[in-house]
Amino acid sequence: MTALAHVPTSTGQPAGPPPPPRHDRHRLLPYLLLLPGAAWLLLFFAVPLFQLAAASLYDPTGSLSTGYALTWAFGNYPDVLQAYWPQFARSFGYAGIALLLALLMGYPLAYAIAQKAGRWKNLLLVCVVAPMFTSFLVRTLAWKTILSDNGWLVGLLRDVHLLGPDGRLLATPVAVVLGLTYNFLPFLVLPLYASLERLDYRLLEAASDLYASPVQIFRKVTLPLSMPGLIAGTLLFFIPATGDYINAELLGTPNEYMIGNVIDSAFLVRLDYPQGAALSFLLMAAILAVVFGYLRRAGTEEVL
């Protein structure tokens, strides 16, 4: 806000004639438009973020009743990493596998809707989005029924001997990964659809006129043109999937718990705020590192 004092017209210098007020309003307008969003971000993101940062450096021997002192206890970070690295690894592993599965399903789906669906396009889009009208929790609970030990799916898999007689899907890593894949699939499909929908069919025709094989057309034309959607989609999928804890909680067991479960328990059950905050920060940092690495490799300036 102090920067506004540098606006030449408001310094009170009698040097020049004041510009017409209409012009002044015009110049300030963009900032006024930014103000609500910026204030929102400051109040509900920046401030809590700094508080979280401070909490991650609290004295770990503090407690709720005596309070926590800020002792710059950087040791909290290696401590939590040592105690909870398996959950960290699991979060990224599960989210990564789920992302691969989602890409295998999502890309053809988005392509089919965008290019081949014809008059069914809107209906198919509704089919992708409609599940989002029900709560995330309800959808995950529905998966519990689908994957149930006595459900038809497990029965079928047992009959064809893909599962042993005592085999199960629920409470295994498979269930957690499937749940993640399902729950975040629309976040991948929608941006992909948006960029595939704008695909100029004449470019594909031109490529095939020039004797490109279908595989070549896909690699040299379709894929590069859908890159912005692909990148946006993978990020929208991967980031929430890594931090998710509902799927591991409902579909998994303690052996499948992800880092989100640990953070939840640190804040709500164990009341160990320094640990919870340090874990949250590490998760944020790790995701940022992965995302930036990815964006560098994918190298698409037009996305960001």
């Binding site: 030449p8 030990d149 006595n150 718990y257």
Partner: protein
């Protein structure tokens, strides 16, 4: 000499704005570094009791923890009786779903000695003990709750968390023990069987509530959950660790084990008596087992938080629910252990079958085998809860 003013560019302004915002935020965070202790004293956080002039009461409770009329779900006969006899308008809210979650909801206000807009809350023993320890709960006036002294079950009198029975009064009690679905597995009798029988592998759940699961394990290992040492706790925890490592225990649950047990996805579990009675009403094969080594007795307690402004009205309500006839009405609906003496006789008139149910009106032998978990201080709570959470994977 006049220094030329730097022309304002969009980028400059943006950087300046963001920079100063970031600095402000940092400064704010640094100024607010550390947290103050949440410890309060009851005397320091009392509000004037407006009960005399305001005939109101805000009562927060768990879902499905109050009798409703069979024909009209919006009517709550036992509560309506209180409204009619006392003239106090009760705002009844079912907003307590989880002890930890509710604690998170009110902790900022109570730690800062502010009101929560609630006059009466219902929380489980260990959370009640924590709030009492933090000085967040008001003492009640024994003269205004004579029914409690007269009718509280002897086994719930003078509990360690409330030796004088004047700060946390049981709403309902329950047992934590074993349960199994007879449609999927044969009977289980002991905690050992639950944790080691090969045919149950991967079909067992335990409660994520440390005091219930660990209490049963401590007893099964020959220790007293009301009075144990760290070595004994570690011994019991080791037993649990083995069962988790072997894959015997599928997961740790809150109330959500109930539908899984009914479906048969889990065959046996550590569970709560009230849930199991409700399940067995629909499926006779689901049974609650009190292992010979002992069961855990817990209560959900009515308490008046600091800064509540209608304490006398709350006391009147507590007194109302300690009349045997009212308590029987409530127990007939919620199916937990009724903490009120004499309610069994009243229940005979409502439903003789329920009156004979030992999980609602436990007999002396069952009560003698039930224990209440030791009251932990903050350091113990953090240590034990930390170790336990590590084993259950969170």
């Amino acid at each position: 000499m006049r220094t030329p003013l730097r022309p304002l560019t969009r980028r400059g302004l943006l950087t300046g704005t963001l920079g100063s915002a970031a600095m402000l935020a940092t400064a704010g965070a640094l100024a607010g570094c550390g947290t103050k202790g949440a410890q309060q004293t009851e005397a320091g956080c009392v509000s004037e009791d407006l009960s005399g002039t305001e005939k109101k009461l805000a009562f927060s409770n768990w879902p499905q923890y109050m009798d409703v009329d069979d024909k009209d779900e919006s009517k709550r006969p036992s509560l309506d009786a209180f409204v009619a006899s006392s003239g106090v308008q009760v705002t009844y809210t079912e907003d307590i779903n989880d002890n930890n979650e509710f604690f998170g909801k009110v902790q900022n206000q109570l730690a800062a000695c502010q009101g929560t807009d609630r006059d009466l809350i219902v929380l489980t023993d260990w959370m009640a003990a924590r709030m009492i320890r933090l000085g967040w709960i008001q003492k009640l006036d024994p003269a205004k709750i004579p029914n409690v002294a007269a009718n509280l079950l002897p086994s719930l009198l003078n509990r360690p968390l409330d030796p004088e029975n004047r700060i946390s009064i049981p709403w309902q009690s329950g047992l934590a023990g074993l349960a199994y679905n007879g449609g999927v597995t044969k009977e289980i009798r002991t905690v050992d069987e639950l944790l080691t029988r090969p045919d149950l592998k991967g079909k067992v759940t335990a409660l994520s509530e440390m005091r219930d699961t660990m209490g049963l394990l401590l007893q099964s290992n020959g220790h007293d959950p009301a009075n144990f040492t760290t070595a004994q706790f570690d011994d019991a925890l080791n037993t649990l660790k083995k069962a988790v490592a072997s894959g015997q225990i599928r997961k740790f649950t809150g109330n959500d084990y109930a539908p899984d047990l009914a479906k048969g996805d889990i065959a046996a579990c550590v569970g709560w008596s009230g849930d199991i009675i409700q399940l067995s009403a629909e499926n006779k094969k689901i049974k609650f087992v009190a292992p010979d080594s002992g069961v855990m007795l817990f209560s959900d307690n009515m308490m008046v938080p600091n800064k509540a402004t209608h304490k006398a009205n709350a006391e009147a309500l507590i007194n109302h629910y300690y009349q045997p006839a009212i308590a029987a009405k409530l127990a007939a609906y919620v199916n937990y252990i009724c903490p009120v003496k004499g309610a069994q006789a009243e229940m005979e008139k409502i439903d003789p079958e329920l009156a004979a149910n030992p999980l609602i009106f436990p007999d002396e032998t069952l009560l003698s085998r039930s224990k209440v978990f030791m009251v932990l201080d903050e350091k113990q709570e953090k240590e034990y809860e930390g170790k336990y959470q590590q084993v259950i994977g969170a």
